[in-house]
């Protein structure tokens, strides 16, 4: 089982993003579970979502306090202590971040750090907004960095969630996230 915690600002689509990832996993014959937290950990309206992925049915319903991976949709959140809290040694961080992944230090030894400038991609595709929409961009980045779900599998759920032109834009956003993510892997003992 992989336990992932998503962090975003209200309006960036963390909940929808996690749901699209869950649906993509389901379409690939896997199991998924998404638990949203609204209101807790409030700082400028940040949103936390728990996502579990597994090859067998997921039974536990508790929150995720020691995640295998974190996904951060907004660079303003990355350095807050609650974002890295409980992140497992050897875990994965996928961040909306302009830095090279090897420049990122979350204070815990990770197996993989992936960064993508999702704010910039969001401006290219959706225009500049006070709260940039970054969820579908991060989905592309997740797919490339982790292989949890294929890029192709993400398209259907994105289309279902955003009908019409918005859906096309979001699929393009997802692709660009996939193309532009940079991944730094730490080999065990290396």
């Amino acid at each position: 089982m992989i336990e992932v915690r998503f962090h975003g600002m209200g309006g960036q689509g963390a909940v929808m993003g996690a749901l699209a990832l869950a649906e993509a996993a389901l379409a690939e014959g896997k199991y998924a579970q998404k638990i949203p937290i609204y209101g807790a950990m409030r700082r400028g309206g940040d949103v936390t979502v728990f996502l579990r992925l597994d090859d067998k049915p997921i039974r536990r319903t508790c929150g995720i306090y020691e995640p295998d991976a974190i996904v951060v949709l907004d660079p303003a959140l990355t350095d807050l202590p609650e974002i890295r809290k409980g992140l497992k040694k050897g875990g994965i961080a996928i961040l909306n971040d302009v830095r090279d992944p090897d420049q990122v230090d979350l204070g815990v030894e990770l197996s993989k750090v992936a960064t993508v400038d999702a704010t910039a991609i969001s401006a290219e595709i959706f225009g500049r907004r006070p709260i940039p929409i970054t969820n579908t961009i991060m989905l592309g980045a997740i797919s490339r960095a982790t292989g949890w779900v294929g890029l192709k599998s993400l398209e259907e759920p994105i289309k279902r969630m955003f009908p019409g032109r918005t859906g096309e834009l979001n699929i393009e956003a997802c692709r660009r996230g996939y193309e532009r993510v940079r991944v730094h892997s730490h080999e065990p003992g290396g």
Partner: protein, 397 residues
Amino acid sequence: MSFTRMMEGNEAAAWGVKLSRVEVIPVYPITPQTELISAIASMIASGEMKAQYIKVEGEHTAMAAAIGASAAGARVFTSSAAQGIVYMEEALWMPPGMRLPIVMCIVNRALAPLGGLRPDHNDSLLQRDTGWIQLYCENSQEVLDTIIQAYRIGEDKRVYLPVAVCYDGYFVSATATPVTVPDQEEVDRFLPPYKHELYSLMPEDYRRPQWGTNIAKARYEVQKAMERAKWVIEEVDSGYKASFGRGYDGLLEEYSCEDAEAVLITMGSMTGTARDVIDEMRGEGKRIGLVKMRCFRPFPSEELREMAKRYHAIGVVDRNTSYGSAGGGIIAVEAARALYPLDDRPLLLDFHVGLGGSDVTMRQIRYMADRVLEALDRGRIEEEVEWVELIDLGEVM
């Protein structure tokens, strides 16, 4: 056609209502139930569901309208949570006495002031004496399946009682998991149209209520119906399993109990978490199992008693408080009465956890299971009732 997709508990409940071909739905919104009734409203607005949706001005009226519609011969659904259920309570006593098989979802939420938007079980357990059957669901799939079962149970003429289908707000209501929605025709075969044999208030089919003037006898009938409901619940669940391939072991489910010397009893969504913990402990060779209490009313006394003959220590997990009770939470007190007639009674420990809507974590469940095993080893109980959230388990939260 049956299909499977990611779905939150509230949406799964709406599908259960739709597939049950409910005719009248008087409801008033309250977190965390609102998404359930808005999903139903959307289904009606889009024309995919045919039902009379009555927007009332409060929960008390919702139940009053439900009573009227059910007595007139309609299949009725309503739903509420927390303060809404308490506000409804005066009217909640009517359907059991009138023998009306209304189905209601209680989307469990802690009561004010010592609670937030998330669940504990005091809102539904508070209604335990009203005469409503109470079934507790572990996940969204079980919610959908149990709503369909609830109509079969309540409308069975051996029962004729209302049924509360309870599920945890947030951990079930807002959690998306894969849910299989069965085919409408298959549900129609399983659940025939509702027809009350005792009476109808419709002018063209007017049949006078039959409860008469002997009040004690009428109450005794409700008690008897409650007792018969036990085997109807078992029967309906096994019939459901035969039709749809999914069942929930009726009243109580024993999970991983082979050779167990001790068990933990859980109710609601925490059961899923407990399964993972018990598996882990089994892997370590610990002889502990899990009992899921699916049905709280009627209380499965005989079943628990039978089961307890095999276990020497039982830990009850009470996601509720009953201040100043005979000892511990509501389930523990009931369980103690159920176990009392045994010659060789098991050790009975009680734990308060998940109160006011806080999460029930793997570590907390592990702690409780370990305490039960410790009691088993020592042959005695150190503390009869523990408040697990007051103990520092070194949790990163």
